[in-house]
Symmetry: D2
Subunit: 347 residues, 4 copies
Amino acid sequence: MIKFGVIGYGYWGPNLVRNLFEVPQARVVAVSDMRTERLAEVTSRYPSVETTTDVQDLFDNPAIDAIAIATPVSTHFDLALRALRSGKHVMLEKPMTSTSEQARRLIDEAARRNLTLMVDHTFVYTGAVRKMKEIVTSGKLGDILYYDSTRINLGLFQRDVDVIWDLAVHDLAIMDYILPSGPCAVSATGINHQFGGTENLAYITMFFEGNLIAHLNVNWLSPVKVRRTLVGGSKQMIVYDDMEPSEKVKIYDKGITLNSGTDSLYKALVGYRSGDMFAPQLDVSEALKVEIQHFLDCIQTGKEPLTGGQAGLRIVEILECASRSMKQRGKLVELEASDLMLSQGAA
Amino acid sequence: MIKFGVIGYGYWGPNLVRNLFEVPQARVVAVSDMRTERLAEVTSRYPSVETTTDVQDLFDNPAIDAIAIATPVSTHFDLALRALRSGKHVMLEKPMTSTSEQARRLIDEAARRNLTLMVDHTFVYTGAVRKMKEIVTSGKLGDILYYDSTRINLGLFQRDVDVIWDLAVHDLAIMDYILPSGPCAVSATGINHQFGGTENLAYITMFFEGNLIAHLNVNWLSPVKVRRTLVGGSKQMIVYDDMEPSEKVKIYDKGITLNSGTDSLYKALVGYRSGDMFAPQLDVSEALKVEIQHFLDCIQTGKEPLTGGQAGLRIVEILECASRSMKQRGKLVELEASDLMLSQGAA
Amino acid sequence: MIKFGVIGYGYWGPNLVRNLFEVPQARVVAVSDMRTERLAEVTSRYPSVETTTDVQDLFDNPAIDAIAIATPVSTHFDLALRALRSGKHVMLEKPMTSTSEQARRLIDEAARRNLTLMVDHTFVYTGAVRKMKEIVTSGKLGDILYYDSTRINLGLFQRDVDVIWDLAVHDLAIMDYILPSGPCAVSATGINHQFGGTENLAYITMFFEGNLIAHLNVNWLSPVKVRRTLVGGSKQMIVYDDMEPSEKVKIYDKGITLNSGTDSLYKALVGYRSGDMFAPQLDVSEALKVEIQHFLDCIQTGKEPLTGGQAGLRIVEILECASRSMKQRGKLVELEASDLMLSQGAA
Amino acid sequence: MIKFGVIGYGYWGPNLVRNLFEVPQARVVAVSDMRTERLAEVTSRYPSVETTTDVQDLFDNPAIDAIAIATPVSTHFDLALRALRSGKHVMLEKPMTSTSEQARRLIDEAARRNLTLMVDHTFVYTGAVRKMKEIVTSGKLGDILYYDSTRINLGLFQRDVDVIWDLAVHDLAIMDYILPSGPCAVSATGINHQFGGTENLAYITMFFEGNLIAHLNVNWLSPVKVRRTLVGGSKQMIVYDDMEPSEKVKIYDKGITLNSGTDSLYKALVGYRSGDMFAPQLDVSEALKVEIQHFLDCIQTGKEPLTGGQAGLRIVEILECASRSMKQRGKLVELEASDLMLSQGAA
């Protein structure tokens, strides 16, 4: 039995607590939040859980083994560091930290203390993304040619992060999990429409070694909600549409083919091949529950989580580069520590 | 009655001929193509039409008033110039020419001879795009904040042009028509997957004066066909989905609003407003027929077509900049002749 | 403050308890279920709630004002009657009872004791259905010509009821609420595929006084989930698609028109008119919460609920007729008590 | 080379002529129509084709081998009989005739003269329906449990036929082709909204020997166009959506399964199994062209067409029964000549 303290009971915290209650090997001991009305919610729904406005109570509580942190990103580093120094395992909301330097320091701290540090890249634990990973790893797609994702909706403007840190982080976590390697350079564009905050829509192109390119379209100002990712291979292609109630992942038996056409002034010798479509059944378990079980498993076995500190760091590094490129209207920014860019899959 | 010669009977030529037959004030006199089997198609379907493998026959034919050119872009400049010099009005397939310099020379030639020069930006003449123009011009959207288009499908790889010149040209023509001004700088990225041709997918960001940004996603390697454009305004937003059998244009009464929230650490003061959606009935006339009627009207009245040489030039200039930026992985390219960038709407 | 006992903690009971906890004027005192493992669920989530395997404990508890019953339909009459005789208000799952005779006896019992009796026709309290009611009542549709609903999915086969009593009951509750009058005759067909149970797909036509017809298609064996209702009027028409994430209700400005065509051998003088489409914003409050608030309001004011005993009875009467017609392969069955068939709207 | 006369150049006739021109082994010699303006259309597009307002000219023309008839159904019998008596093969628009008695007389006439008589059930020749036939015949679906089709749109009201004869005829032709046997009894309901014509929406249930039921929903007054057919089997199920631009046929690996559940008061022992979905690539040849080639093949070989007179008759018999049942509000009508009801597939 692993006993949890949860910091932050805003948007995501209630999901954490609810899922922690549904996993038999976990128990929620205490929740902290600076807002007493949020804590009243906790008490009314889970009378057995202690509440406090002072996070230090959680760090000081010897009954707590692990801390889940669901607060704004600007607070992640400080809270996670204090949790680790108190000897607690940490499950940290995404993005991991505000800077890659902070991420590296958390990784070191956790390593030194033999504590499990996991970043809550929830999508990685969905049935859809795990199925995509399986397909990509199987080699059925042939050469991976592109990764193209659109994640747009009408969303509340964040104050402490731009749309890249809020939305693209999801796509980067999925990419990091399913692609065999990470990007080596980034060009991003975007705009801050001056509604008082940060950039509210952005476009990010990532260049990889070899024949692969990736692109993300993220937008807080779209009248329609779109969650669609294409993974194009030379033999097959995937469309992942998270708005579909079922059949979220479709595999198209379509690809490139050589024409021996004579109509050469008009058309190139390269054409396409069109075939069947297949939508595999997906595991519909709630991702957060699967993730919590994985976290518990990593705590007990000491193994690195699928979305551990290294994965969190890789994503923060790309976020940093993308924001830097966006400020310079698309100027190419190279990812320095490309040796760190190897994804879990390649490790 | 305007009598036409048509050059090129490949993919688009048959559509031109069919629509020219349906417009009472037009008549097709002759068709030329280098491929005799294509000409045999003409004869079997339209026995009254003369055919020739020598374009010069059309230029020399005094019965012909106007020439429609539907050949690969690399031939546009030469054929259009010869047509104008023969005293014929010209309707030229998009993109207008391979370079902006060529476009300028055609504009000059047509002006000097008082001939009508029109570029076949077909989408401008659809009911959907004309309705969007009407909405944007009415001011109902508030400030125009972004233009975001996706035009992807599994398409034959072109040999003489990259995907930007093949697909993005449509979006640029629509943008040029409905937006009040043109872009001042471009950052584009893309990839040539080395199937023997040119770049086969690309992403183009365009920066405008003021608070507006535009982005195009074009791809010849998508397993699904997407044709979707978002026009985001501060008060209302448009979604134009050309794959919808009806209700192609939807207007969302959604926009930005100010929160007076107290939950300020977590959420910014800027939020959104969500309201009704409205899909106006659209004129379903075939766009090419509407366009031909407009061309005839311009020939008779001498007025500049909605998609005349100037519009064609503006689009070619953006295409040039986008291709140049793409070669340099997103490097910002400024549009020089920004005074030419004023769209028809603002003129 | 109204204090509740809840009977049945299977599929729907947890939703009732959760929503009762969210309504400030309500409190859950006790839950009963015959299965101790279900009661353990209650205790773990709501430690303050008493649990019992003996329903009599709820009827005997003087602290309880109202009973919510979420058990199989075969038990409804007995449990509701005992609750009413114990002086408790009753909120009863749909369908109200197994027979119309039982429904009449419950109505009488509640009336005699001045207790509120409500049937949980949840859909009536959704934003979508309330909006449809508003549109129909406004007269904008013109004459109501037809009501056509499809409610199909792959569902667990029920043992004690056929698919009409399980699925069509939802459509009948919606129809009863939004149409100005009830049907006068029913013809139903269906099949029992002999998987051990009852009829698992059925088609129900209802005839009304005047120019109106209704049809329901219900099926437990469909590979796809469809929830779509059309309400056709002479001036406008509604499409209600509950599977849409937003824009569930669309109003089409389409209708009948007179042609003065001369092509009379081929086409009739009657044609159609096609216009704009409009999707009003809907209230997205959880229907069950709205319904509970309405129940509390009815208890306090003594007014008849929108979905009170009379509405429940009207639906059970149609269900009885439909099942009877289905057993005789479509034989027309007249609804006897047509004076009871007047819906809430007309009352 | 088979030479054709075409009777009727209204809605469908132009499609016939266009496709006849595209089949090398066919030639159109003459077209007749009572409306001279329709004949002028023929002449302008196909100057080589003779035109006449007198059908007798076609019957008398010895150069004509076959007659395609695309006129209102009330004229089918007379025109087809005269064509056969003139020694011409006949391709007749659907529905074949106004009565089954007429259909039988045409079959006899064609048989006596060794002429090919085909009914234009176009859908049977689409890639989608041929693929469905292949799947059903393969046995993969397991036992066929139901056939459920919706064919609704805003359509011109016909004068000489009701909606069953106009729209349901398509579904009956598809059913007749893909199901191993025909129905033995029909119950239909519908309404004539008194806009001057006939019944404009209808619901038809068909009972089969064994465990199969079929249902059709046809409607001229729907604001949305739906063309969806479900074929439910015990092992797999098909959804055929003709409005989808691609993936029109989807095969769901879903079916019935036995539960060994203990929760027996609430759920039956029968549940469902949910698996992958598969959308096979379809032949996209134009159906009418495939059909004409089949007609030519049958003329040359003397074999019975897939949609010959017998198939046409079977459908007319069901149409007669359905209209008769509809007039009596769902009264069951048995199909007498059930030995004729065997479909092509079972023959």
